[in-house]
Symmetry: C2
Subunit: 555 residues, 2 copies
């Protein structure tokens, strides 16, 4: 670890994930990471029963408790500062990133409804976590109506908005708990709520307003549209959503005395506007120019890229003005299953002797299978898979798609299928890159962040399948580091996020280079993947959707 000196100044970045928050202390001058700490949310994800009452939650629900986020500020931040061995007085700014779209219904002063008298036992008064999927009916109606009315914003989201987003969640509250809807003064992104707790001011950030709040060209969906959805929903934007919006990297305010007490940081330091885990990672990876795509590869992959023009890219999650860095159009796409698929296979599809052999060698089953998979020539396993075990987010935007493996024989071994799954996700990434390239916003650099960059075979496969070198981030704490960069900008230590990224971010350019023979071999397999992709995902057959419909019907 780098050593602090008395002349240095520092910033703190806090990454609020699904299960915990992570604080990171970073040196302003060079981005050195000096100390980190993690705090689990005491209530984790609330998807079984409501705290206190024990009420059973319906399927697809996922809530959180807002006090858990404050708990992170009170524990992880001071702990990270202690771990860094710095003087807290030398911290000049703090910034946060959050899961999204995670929504908190609050009173006018920011008090979460669930903490108010009479609403503690009402499930709709709690935080609706990003993965709360119980508003699908509302989302379906929003999409159908938007298509029918030809709403121009629909194309900015690849043709459909998600049940995870603000409008679907808000409409669900109105229709299922009108008293909660009536009582809430604001429906706030947790990304902005935590900033409110730090600086005492409610400021919306341009990123979630655009990606999750359908804020486009200076406006939210119209009152006419909302009225057509449900007359009682007519005032959703004006009454619950609309608020001052600031750009990423701007200051939302300064640290309050209360928040200084929680965190141990100096009162009055800069607090940056809120941000989102994936998007905040881009500057940490020095991806601040048009065409630099960052793939945050973990259980799923999120692709974020800035562009200097706005184009309709098929099947993206969204394009937002200043959505990643101010002044550029921020594009987001995604693969809904990546590491999750490998994990599922290792958990459910690998026989005992492989587990034993891995253990005997002191390897994880992932590492053991990777080692075996690396021994074979491209195409030797005779397989092609479709990586849709969690559906397809981009470019097909269809959660009723599913996985497929073709080519298995009695000679097929676990490492063969494992490798085919690794390759399938690389093919899926190539489909996304080609969609951008073909839409006038070309991908000029592919930068990998996230836990999967440690798998060298996987990285080589991606380089070979994409036919381009891969850069990788140098930080293992991409989101928290990205937040720290925004804190430095908000504190005025750098004039803009580009300068901060240059000085504090890091990436290894072309860490993995494509091998010409492999690129040619994968071109051949990719054409098979692409044909299956189009057959099962587009015009060929609806078998996957029908199988899911049958499954729902008989379950």
């Amino acid at each position: 670890m780098p050593q602090p000196t008395s002349a240095d100044t520092y910033v703190v970045g806090v990454d609020f994930g699904t299960l915990s928050g992570r604080a990171l202390v970073v040196r302003v001058g060079d981005g050195a990471e000096l100390g980190a700490a993690v705090a689990e949310y005491p209530h984790g994800v609330v998807d079984a029963e409501l705290p206190g009452t024990g009420e059973k939650l319906p399927p697809e629900w996922a809530l959180q408790v807002p006090a858990d986020y404050v708990h992170v500020l009170r524990t992880a931040v001071p702990e990270a500062v202690r771990a860094a061995g710095i003087d807290p007085a030398s911290v000049v700014g703090i910034a946060t990133d959050f899961t999204a779209c995670t929504m908190v219904p609050v009173l006018a002063d920011g008090t979460p409804l669930c903490e108010t008298a009479g609403f503690g036992s009402e499930k709709h008064a709690y935080v609706k976590l990003w993965r709360h999927h119980a508003a699908q009916g509302q989302a379906d109606r929003i999409n159908a109506l938007a298509a029918e009315r030809g709403e121009v914003w629909l194309a900015r989201y690849g043709g459909s908005i998600s049940s995870e987003w603000e409008f679907a969640k808000g409409l669900q509250i109105l229709e299922e708990a009108p008293e909660v809807y009536a009582a809430m003064d604001h429906f706030v992104e947790a990304a902005d709520w935590i900033v409110w707790q730090l600086c005492g001011r409610y400021v919306r950030n341009a990123c979630t307003a655009g990606y999750k709040g359908v804020y486009q060209d200076g406006a939210y969906p119209s009152t006419e549209f909302l009225t057509a959805l449900n007359p009682a929903f007519a005032g959703f934007v004006t009454d619950k959503l609309e608020h001052e919006i600031r750009q990423l990297g701007e200051a939302a305010g300064t640290l309050t005395a209360q928040a200084a007490g929680w965190t141990g940081l100096p009162e009055g330091i800069a607090v940056a506007v809120g941000n989102v885990d994936a998007h905040v990672s881009a500057p940490a990876a020095q991806a601040v120019a048009a065409g630099q795509m960052v793939a945050i590869m973990g259980t799923s992959t999120c692709h974020v890229m800035s562009g200097d023009v706005r184009r309709d890219v098929p099947g993206i999650c969204g394009v937002v003005d200043g959505g990643i860095v101010p002044g550029l159009w921020g594009y987001e796409a995604g693969q809904s299953g990546v590491g999750d698929i490998f994990g599922w296979f290792v958990r459910t599809g690998v026989p005992p002797e492989y587990h034993q052999a891995a253990a005997a060698r002191g390897l994880s089953v992932h590492e053991y299978l990777t080692e075996l998979a690396a021994e074979q020539a491209i195409g030797q396993h005779g397989l092609v898979a479709l990586d849709w075990h969690s559906g397809n987010r981009s470019v097909l935007v269809d959660h009723d798609l599913s996985g497929l493996v073709v080519g298995q024989t009695l000679a097929t071994r676990p490492e063969d299928t494992y490798r085919a799954l690794l390759e399938a996700t690389a093919f899926g990434a190539r489909v996304i890159v080609e969609a951008f390239n073909g839409s006038g916003v070309p991908v000029t650099e592919f930068i990998v962040a996230g836990g999967l960059l440690r798998n060298h075979l996987l990285m080589q496969i991606y380089a070979d399948v994409l036919g381009m070198p891969l850069s990788v981030t140098t930080s293992e704490q991409g989101p928290a580091l990205g937040s720290a960069l925004h804190a430095a900008v908000a504190a005025g230590a750098y004039p803009d996020i580009r300068k901060a990224a240059e000085a504090m971010g890091g990436r290894k350019i072309a860490a993995h280079r494509p091998i010409a023979a492999n690129v040619a071999a994968y071109d051949e397999l990719y054409s098979e993947y692409r044909a299956l992709h189009d057959h099962f995902g587009r015009s060929g057959t609806d078998v996957m959707r029908r199988l899911k419909a049958i499954r729902r019907r008989v379950s």
Copy 2:
């Protein structure tokens, strides 16, 4: 076990399998099975190195040693008689069935070439086992030439003959070991060679002559055809193959003194003509009338059925006059992977905790998965699979096809995929049944024989998928019992195989009945299977073939 009485007479059936021979003593009056014994072949399958010389065999080779068959006569037969507790003098006949097409090159007196001076170290002088697949090049040329010349016999074999059969194997010997070809006086089915050893006379049986020897309408392929294949092959039929043919159930001769010495049976008793394991099972299951399909379900499934008319059924293995019972057209079809696919999955795709849970319950993994799979509603797993892990024998006749699973998600469990594989083989069976029904030789009864009939879930799935009741054989020794029936007919105890089947065979009619709601549910899934079958197997895509071609190229 039934008890013998002094008034009873008996017959012996001997089933020569791939790894061992099994002798069964059966009471003529009622088919009661009184004693059995198995003898392993001392040399098993010779596919690694040649006995004696240690010469390494090329890939795809599979040989046997003819003395191993005599070893079965000398050990298993007397042991079965002892186990039955009968007086050997009360045995009135013996009959055999064999794997096919398994070929022995011999001298004029039946001596195997590999037992003669100078040929013991020549691999082509040994028995070529049915699964010797090194004559694929010869088979390809035979099929191409037959198609080009419009040979009428080609349609009798679904449009192509196999590399396993007599002509491909014979041509391989000519082209790779002309001195062996020149030295052999007959190229004999092991099914007939073993009968020759028992009765001292060479008689061909109508079954293998038709199915494996391409004997149709009283003739083998013409001299012109053979000359066009290879001028040196012109005399293959006349010099090596042609010989007296007798119908199944006829006597080939009587037991010689030498064979009586080997077996302990009385000299002079009837010896039936040779037969084939699958075909001989039909009468044992009382399937002697037109429309009774017997499915012998094990690692693969062989379907045999007699018809009173000859029709072109697409993709069958063959149709032969008297091929199963004299006087009817014998049809054969097959699924190249059934139990093999389930075994592959259990071996390579089931995680440790399932193995442990099965062991804790004292169940095999198959039994445990079956129990779990039985708990779910039809379609609940959301999967459809294609059962082509070993290629497709009927009706597509393509070994370059491969397996497919569609519909997997992160929630898919091992029992889900296992059940989908069970169902896939049932769908494959339905394709075959529909091919017969649609060709004017309708399947009126579906009778299951073989080891898999013990899996009740599998049987119920087959009944539901086929939409018809399943009968099951009552004997667990179908082939050996079938041979015993033929021995009884050859000995004159019954006027024909129909009467013998009635008295000595057995089946439980409608042991498994379709459940109407299940039939409807499977109709829906079958239409998905059928669409995938046609897309991947017929006109839609050649992806499976291309993947196998790539695999061969890079391996």
